[in-house]
């Protein structure tokens, strides 16, 4: 008999702030956090906007236990965001603040796992270039011999450790004493969903009772923006345009996505363990599936127009949830505003839901929070869980009415929501789908 899996804690971190409240409030009001990039002058790029979490939104030194403050020096931005998200999720789940904080924690360390989706983390451009600059020759060119001989000593000894993708989980497992299975999933926008799927498997095979799970990323840095631009993912922007209106998922006039900082961590837990410790489950995850699309473009990054990988993932997740398309009350796709990806997602929804596709409301988050890449799925999951808890559909913004899909802009409204299908598709073609179900659904 397979264990039932529930979500008992939410820790989204988005440009709106830390925790579900600021995110949900913005989603209800239909606000976007996308602005001109402030962390550096992005005027040289085609896309000059992003959804950034203000640097003063939280102080990482205050998020970690006092005895761990020194370690914050070797945290990159992605790790800081993950540490804040994990603390929020653990607190929200009633599992305490971490690092020897709570001796009476209801879940033993060896039974607590951690699966965090992360991206390809870029070294801080100022930090690295300043060090490289010391190794220029008389002609002003970089001199590798000088670098090897002495220049590299201008990098702090732990430099490499700041930027390994598994450092998010490394710090989180230390702070919260997670000694169960821990993994770092690196599949772009599918990372959060795959992490949650892995947490489910780990709990079902009884290798853990609960897991911190999700994903976090910040691609708001020059090299990542360059790469996203090279991959034709980002919307070109003009100075006249309102940044908040740039991302228009599924709109025929959609022209690309915008990067957002963040993602989130949720506590995924065996239902019987949650019940024993008296935790209130927010939602049940009843079905999960992942598939691989055939990416027909020359770089292998986007699903082809005839590819049915996304539809396969949706159908498998429904089957495992013992649900039919008619049982789904809302769908939370990636909805990135990247035309090729929007088309693939729209085709999949139409193929699975048939004529009903036009009646199932879509929940879009990228116009509000930006595309958080490895964290994108965690934002969708947090919003979908909150929609189930409050029986409310969040507002949708920017998109004009779309033929055959319920995707156009509209205010939030109350709705009877029993099951929400969350799906993500990544740059590179990994797809995930999961069915979130209201806990007391008859």
């Amino acid at each position: 008999m397979s264990r039932r899996i529930v979500i008992t804690g939410l820790g989204p971190v988005t440009a709106f702030g830390v925790g579900i409240d600021p995110l949900w409030e913005a989603m209800i009001e239909g606000r976007s956090a996308i602005r001109r990039i402030e962390q550096f002058d992005a005027g040289g790029f085609e896309c000059t906007v992003a959804a950034e979490l203000p640097r003063d939104a939280f102080d990482v030194r205050k998020v970690v236990p006092r005895s761990y403050r020194k370690a914050t020096k070797v945290m990159c931005r992605d790790t800081e965001l993950a540490v804040a998200a994990a603390a929020e999720a653990m607190t929200d789940a009633g599992l305490g603040g971490g690092l020897n904080g709570d001796e009476s924690r209801a879940i033993d360390s060896r039974r607590l796992g951690c699966h965090i989706g992360a991206g390809l983390i870029c070294a801080d451009v100022d930090e690295l270039c300043e060090a490289l600059w010391t190794s220029r020759n008389e002609a002003g060119e970089f001199d590798l011999k000088h670098w090897g001989d002495n220049g590299m000593n201008n990098l702090t000894p732990l430099w490499l450790l700041k930027y390994l993708p598994n450092m998010l989980a490394c710090h989180v497992t230390i702070i919260h004493e997670c000694r169960g299975p821990s993994n770092t999933i690196t599949c772009c926008e599918a990372s959060s969903g795959l992490s949650i799927g892995e947490s489910m498997r780990v709990i079902e095979r009884n290798a853990a009772d609960a897991c911190l799970s999700g994903g976090i990323e910040s691609k708001v840095n020059p090299l990542s923006i360059l790469r996203q631009g090279f991959a034709s993912r980002l919307a070109p922007t003009t100075l006249e345009e309102d940044p908040a209106s740039v991302v228009r998922p599924f709109d025929p006039a959609a022209c690309g996505t915008v990067i957002g900082e963040g993602g989130g961590i949720v506590v995924v837990e065996a239902a019987e363990v949650a019940s024993e410790r008296g935790a209130e489950p927010y939602a049940e995850i009843t079905g999960f599936a992942s598939t691989q699309s055939y990416c027909a473009d020359t770089m292998g990054v986007e699903p082809g127009p005839d590819d049915d990988g996304i539809a396969d993932a949706m159908e498998l997740a429904l089957e495992r949830a013992e649900a039919k398309p008619g049982d789904i009350d809302a769908i939370a796709p990636l909805g990135s505003g990247i035309p090729a990806v929007d088309r693939a997602e729209a085709a999949a929804i139409k193929s699975v839901f048939g004529r009903r596709a036009a009646e199932v409301p879509l929940i879009t988050t990228v116009p509000n929070t930006g595309n958080c890449n490895a964290g994108a799925g965690a934002v969708s999951v947090a919003v979908a869980v909150q929609a189930l808890r409050t029986q409310t559909l969040p507002a949708r913004i920017n998109t004009a009415p779309v033929d055959g899909l319920d995707a156009g802009a509209r205010p939030s409204c109350s709705a009877s929501l029993g099951r929400i299908l969350v799906t993500q598709t990544s740059q590179g073609g990994q797809n995930v789908a999961m069915v979130l179900q209201k806990v007391d659904l008859a």
């Binding site: 040289g44 070797v74 497992t173 599918a190 590179g428 990994q430």
Partner: protein
Amino acid sequence: MTPRVVVTGMGWITPLGHDLETVWTKLVNGESGVRPIVRFDASTFPTSFAAEVRDYDFRKYVRNPAMHEGAAMNTQFALGAARQAWDQSGLGSYDALDPRRIGMYLGAGEGVLDFAAYASVAMKTWDPDAGRVDTVAWAREAAATMDRRGEIGQEPNMPLSHLAREFGIRGPACNCLTACAASTQAIGEAVDILRRGDADVMISGGTHTMIHVLGVTGFIRLTALSRQGGDCTRAARPFDRRRSGFVMGEGAGMVVLETLEHAEKRGAVPLAEIVGYGSSADAFRITDMHPQGLGPAAAIIDALNQAGLDPHALGEDGRPLVHYISAHGTGTQENDSVETLAIKHVFGANARRIPISSIKSMMGHLIAAAGAVELITCILAIRHKTLPPTVNLDSPDPELDLDYVPNVARKAEIEVCLSDSFGFGGQNDTLVVRKI
């Protein structure tokens, strides 16, 4: 009843060669793949040697090289290793193959930054007076200098996309990157996916290179690399008293895993069975392992439990139930001491009776790919009834008193092997593989 999972194909691209048998022969002969670095001018670096993959052309391994043109080196390694595994498995000629029931779970590292271009852009855009990069100039220079394909290809999930294209794979797909534990963890999770029935076949393993300017720089700054002077083939010396760090390697190891039922149905020959997997986190420090090795021990115990093997028992032949341990064995002071403690902690009095070796002494540390290559080595050891040696072990460390198969390969009947991988950041993963 939980399905049994077997290996039906294996392949690797390593510093010692590009096919199973050539590399195996070199391992048994104790040959080293470590040489001075040729990929970039490392002559002034404190460590200027590594085990590089040489004379490799991925085009020989793929149906249509144009489909993979511009792929990063890790993807190129993955394609060659997966092709060998795929061909050995015979899946290519199985007509009833359902692409939706074939999945992938890789522990692939990231691609390689075009360092020369990056450094040249840095020289042009660093503003020494402001103490920061002029990002507007940087955006312009970088767009003009850096290679579009090369940059896009660096996300660690790109090998998945290329393998999917090459082999028509459509099932569950995932990539994990837990540093040096990644491919062992990937194989363990792939086995779990098969046991659940979410797929019939999984391609799994790892691929990685960090032999590039910033990779080598990063490990030198961490003081993780051997800086031994003189003959560089002697620099990787796991479990030796004079060990001073690891030697970087690169490459890929891939296996085809499938349920025994699926393998039998199509008449495939299983090479070995994966019977145990354990995974744990140290949750101790970002730079150090737990001094008693509690994390690694927990992973080993879980893997043995899953395999139904009692570490303290003796078999009918009077030997412990595990016949060989492929060590993580990096050659750092810390790893080799902690790993030895963990093995003693788990196996007690049996620890001294189990031969242990580290092939990193010969092919360097393949980082994310290391675990897959070491699992393949275990399976070859079972098939060839031979244990590969730990070379350069000529001054024993009095604290490390287990049987590390020093310097010379050894004939042995082995049926059950354990393969350990421990990653920077505290992930510990162990697989148990059994003769079939």
